[in-house]
Amino acid sequence: MTRQMTGAQIVVQALKDQGVDTVFGYPGGAVLPIYDEIFLQNEIRHIIVRHEQAATHAAEGYARSTGKPGVVLVTSGPGATNAVTGMTDALMDSIPMIVLTGQVPTFMIGNDAFQEADTIGITRPCTKHNWLVKDTDILAETIHQAFHVATSGRPGPVLVDIPKDVQFATGSYTPLNKTKVSHYQPRVKGDIDAITKAVEMLEKAKRPIIYSGGGVINSGVGASQLLRELSDATGAPITSTLMGLGAYPASGKNWLGMLGMHGTYEANMAMHDCDYMLCVGARFDDRITGRTDAFSPNSFKIHIDIDPSSINKIIHVDVPIVGDIGHVLEDMLKIWKSRGRKTNAPAIAKWTAKIDDWRAVECLTYKPSDTVIKPQYALERLEALTKDHDRYITTEVGQHQMWAAQYLSFEGPHRWMTSGGLGTMGYGTPASMGVQIAHPDALVINVAGEASWLMNMQEMGTATQYNLKTKQFILNNERLGMVRQWQELLHGSRYSHSWSESLPDFVKLAEAFGAKGIRCADPADLDDAIMEMLNHDGPVIFDCLVEKHENCFPMIPSGAAHNEMIMGEDKTEDAITGAGGALV
């Protein structure tokens, strides 16, 4: 016999059955019955944020650092609309997330009721799928289905909209094992013929490169292991997108650093000149390819992706392999080994030597200073002083994000949580809190710019409430640095609205929130200040006053090819010309 419960009880029971331990949310009229049930139990921990957007980013931080789906609970109307940015962010970066929204009662839907919004309509394009549940009897099944969709295939956010009368009404609870099997079952095993072709070409490749992305991270820790094995065993150099950092260790011998617009010289040159490209769970995003018609013109391209729509979307590839990265890499290694572990070793040795020449350019060199903290220097010191910690890094969006990707190193997956596809300023602070909740004893640092940081600074309240000892490491240049850089490159250095006026005193702000504030302006004091931050057992806002006009290099200007990078010492004014100016 099925168990009878109220809709609100069904929600909490379904979450428990799904193994949820943490929910990020904010109450309101249309979710009160669910909040009442949360009050009456202790298994699921609810984290009360200060803004619904932050709930979604915190859930992203939780999901990105654990591989488990993040769960969000918000009310109807403004609660749901505030969650839109985080859902779009999760959709772009393929992060599993379940958002539960309250809705006005079914008999009031369509009447412009108080706090009513067409949540399903608004979130249709920013979720993988969404459901409006009008019947308590199908609520449990819908929530189980939502978890299945969010975590299967290419992960993503889903939303379940639950009217208030459905929460109050009594219905039957369908347990997880009684839920009918969804027809949504993305393919995980790759085509063996295609994989064999990929191996054949790899055996002959003279200038191979592996270009990996966030799909490797999403596929699980095993996929990262297999990726390492493949690169190390074949000697193929490896680069990664922003989303994929950590899948291959930065200390690994074949590591080229990140590629793309602010990637390393060696990674981009190798991408341009390779004759064999194995794209593993990346999607040829415009930040990666630069000018598509000049993208890696002489390579044989293989693309492994679980989402068929990513294949041939931007770059036409020679061998598409649709499947889960872990499964495909496992098969690929198996086939390569069974065929006798062949590589074109002499050619690869020459290729590696060529890459070493590119490495010798030392593209991340910057002009040091004794008087002012260079942002790159700040990150180098942060790296040196924290790399041996159990460390997780989140970022906001902008120059600091690119510098963090360049100067911090990641040895494993799930350690680097950044808003890649959507580029959401205000993401990092709440994300760092989600990470800290999942890893209470770890060192969690949000590398931020002051402008991005202000966008969700109210979450310092959440940090102090739960004593989340996240370190908000703000590279404060009193500028919207990346906007300013583009204005220099493209708009004749007319810095239209790209500076931060009337900034708060971050140290006093920290104190106002009950956190610790540290300010540092002198390179000589930086190490001590960072140590002070690390030694404080609680949330810290670190106001690091840095050089105001530093540009982020190297850079592929928009509309240019991988071998047309501009380096730190090049002339930059109006460096973006022609059609490139129309791009973002």
Binding site: I120, P308, I314
Partner: protein, 186 residues
């Protein structure tokens, strides 16, 4: 092997320009999509097309399996071969979509559309309209002393041809269903 078959610097165009190795000709394809007949499913399909800038030339939808709550959506769309491939892949990954078939490339198929045309007039024009309807095997489904409503079924091209011939004879109203299509054979 050069996947793009392009010389470096061959184009000064935008970085987003996709030099399409499959060809740049615009093709028309008829797609048939089986979907769960749940609330909002049509909005999802249409939203995909508008959100990603694809074309819809015609779209028909109705529940075809009442027990399984499945609907068949028939979409006529245009684009380069690469865009058509993207459309199919994007449709296929949507959760409520069970299958996507491209009738244009998957062997022979039959396509039919129904149209109703109101032609008003008297005298010779009225007689000529009736004659044309006869030739095109259109049926009269309503008449007054000054008007006919014709019903015609056929390929969209046949209906286009009939409309153009009848237009000067007093075509005052027109309704078309859009294309329904099925693959031939078993």
């Amino acid at each position: 092997m050069n996947a793009l078959s392009l010389k470096k610097g061959a184009s000064k165009k935008s970085a987003y320009d996709l030099k399409n190795p499959l060809g740049d000709t615009i093709e028309t394809h008829t797609l048939t999509v089986i979907v769960d007949n749940e609330a909002g499913v049509l909005a999802r399909v249409i939203g995909l097309f508008s959100g990603r800038g694809y074309n819809i030339d015609s779209l028909t939808v109705a529940e075809t399996d009442h027990e399984g709550h499945l609907s068949r959506v028939t979409i006529v769309t245009t684009g380069t071969p690469a865009v058509i491939e993207q459309i199919k892949a994007q449709l296929d990954r949507m959760v409520p979509i069970h299958s996507v078939h491209d009738l244009t490339v998957e062997g022979p198929s039959v396509e039919r559309e129904l149209a109703m045309l109101k032609v008003t007039g008297t005298g010779e024009k009225r007689v000529e309209a009736m004659r044309l309807a006869d030739i095109f095997r259109a049926n009269v489904v309503d008449t007054t002393l000054e008007s006919f409503v014709f019903e015609i079924t056929g390929t969209p091209e046949k209906i286009d041809a009939f409309i153009e011939l009848v237009r000067p004879l007093g075509l005052t109203d027109l309704a078309r269903t859009g294309v329904a299509a099925l693959a031939r054979g078993v």
